[in-house]
């Protein structure tokens, strides 16, 4: 079956229903392996066992940003092709991205208490993740206030693209404003500075989180398609009652 067939919501639903159990199984297995490896990873010589928070914190941060990327791609589908499935994909990604960003902030705050001595510091990376969360809330607010799904989706698509242009600027300006967080240490020139004993579980956890995101995203998309069908059926019913 060519990929383009997935653009039909009904075919999309059949494929999702077939794929979802496998995805759930793969997610559970990867989380089991990842968490086991993470628990057995050596402690940091300075931070002790608290370094294990990283295995939740870093993947959540990646997926918090990935969610906005997904929304921006979906926004192009909404604005350029007016595709209803792109609307649904964007709408499904917003609460997920917000949730992962929130997890990143909470775990970061819990990690900050033993290492930096405080739950919250106005450090550059924490602050830009917080602004990202606020931007997610803005998109969610748009969906909440829109009376008609299509209109809300187009408004949110424009906001997603504006946010996508703004996010690097916000990141840069917050970096300028204050820096305490350690610089990037996994992807950088000259290889990673993290020991493989910690890096491997981290990458497994990142994969597990990504699969979790994809699984949830597909499930939310399915629910949203069904919800829209219920809505249009109700509208037709109301019209018939009225006539």
């Amino acid at each position: 079956m060519p990929v383009i067939d997935l653009a039909n919501p009904t075919r999309f639903l059949t494929v999702v229903n077939r794929v979802l159990p496998w995805l759930i199984a793969a997610t559970v297995i990867l989380f089991a392996v990842g968490l086991f490896r993470a628990m057995n990873a050596p402690d940091d010589y300075q931070q002790g066992a608290t370094v294990k928070i990283m295995f939740l914190h870093v993947p959540a941060a990646w997926l918090g940003m990935f969610g906005w990327g997904l929304m921006s791609v979906a926004a192009l589908g909404t604005l350029v092709w007016r595709h209803p499935l792109a609307d649904v994909a964007g709408k499904a990604a917003a609460p997920l991205g917000a949730a992962f960003t929130f997890i990143c902030l909470v775990t970061g705050s819990l990690w900050g208490r033993p290492t930096w001595g405080t739950y919250w510091v106005w450090d550059a990376r924490l602050t830009s993740m917080l602004v990202l969360l606020l931007l997610y809330f803005g998109v969610l607010a748009l969906y909440w206030t829109a009376e008609e799904p299509g209109r809300g989706a187009r408004a949110a698509a424009i906001l997603s693209l504006v946010g996508a242009v703004n996010l690097p600027i916000i990141k840069f300006s917050v970096d300028w404003w204050n820096t305490l967080h350690q610089p990037a240490s996994i992807f950088r020139m000259g290889g990673s500075t993290i020991d493989p004993a910690i890096l491997t579980p981290l990458l497994i956890m990142a994969l597990a989180f990504t699969l979790l995101f994809v699984t949830l995203h597909l499930a939310v998309m399915r629910n949203e398609i069904l919800r829209r069908r219920v809505r249009s059926m109700r509208l037709i019913q109301a019209r018939e009652l009225h006539a």
């Binding site: 607010a141 748009l142 408004a155 906001l159 504006v162 916000i170 300028w176």
Partner: protein, 222 residues
């Protein structure tokens, strides 16, 4: 060009003549600045240190509150539909409305900022620099807010939704505005880099804001 000037003068006239809209923002700005010493105490040294921040925050809130009227009244009386069907490209007419809006709400803030700076114990010489940062920074606030105003009017909502949408996007403007003002007043960081970045933010939003706002209106009001 005549359509541009006609729209510009119409919007400025409306802002000045109807309900004192233009001065309301400046009045709000004054009240925010007056409220601050009640909250943080009348310590002049402290006020001098946080003065630029208070002025920038006040200007941000004042320009945010005025945004509601940017499209809402035109949408209510139908002139927004005429603008969308008019000969001027929608991006350009939206930009014109934003310029008129800045001239009537942003510029008064810049003008009274030196006076308010004196009330916050900012030195007389430094108030000029402070006003300069507001002069180049407030257009960015207006043009970023333009997108939020267009989205809000397309959804027939305003008020708090507008604030929730717009405020996170203005973080860079606030950071570089206050950084430039602080550099000019207390130092030791150089004034040039944050100031030029502030100019860049204004110019970029001048280009991108109207495009996004026009797209929001087209997609929302069809």
């Amino acid at each position: 060009m005549s359509a541009f000037t006609a729209l510009l003068t119409r919007d400025i006239r409306l802002a000045i003549r109807v309900g004192g809209g233009a001065l309301m923002g400046a009045l709000f700005f004054l009240i925010v600045v007056v409220m601050t010493p009640f909250a943080v105490g009348p310590d002049l040294a402290l006020l001098a240190r946080i003065g630029p921040a208070i002025l920038w925050l006040g200007a941000l809130l004042a320009s945010l509150l005025a945004l509601d009227r940017l499209f809402a009244t035109d949408h209510d009386d139908g002139s927004l539909d005429l603008l969308m069907m008019g000969s001027l490209p929608l991006e350009l007419s939206v930009a014109t409305k934003a310029i008129a809006h800045w001239l009537t709400t942003g510029l008064p803030l810049v003008v009274i900022a030196p006076l308010l700076g004196l009330m916050l114990n900012v030195e007389l010489k430094a108030t000029g620099w402070l006003a300069l940062t507001l002069l180049v920074g407030t257009p960015a606030l207006t043009f970023i807010g333009l997108v939020g105003a267009a989205l809000a009017v397309a959804l027939r909502r305003g008020g708090l939704l507008l604030a929730v949408l717009v405020l996170p996007l203005t973080v860079p403007v606030l950071i570089f505005g206050v950084a430039a003002a602080n550099a000019a007043i207390v130092g030791p960081a150089p004034f040039g880099p944050p100031f030029t970045i502030l100019c860049a933010l204004s110019l970029a939003s001048l280009v991108l804001g109207p495009i996004a706002a026009a797209a929001a209106l087209r997609h929302g009001l069809e």
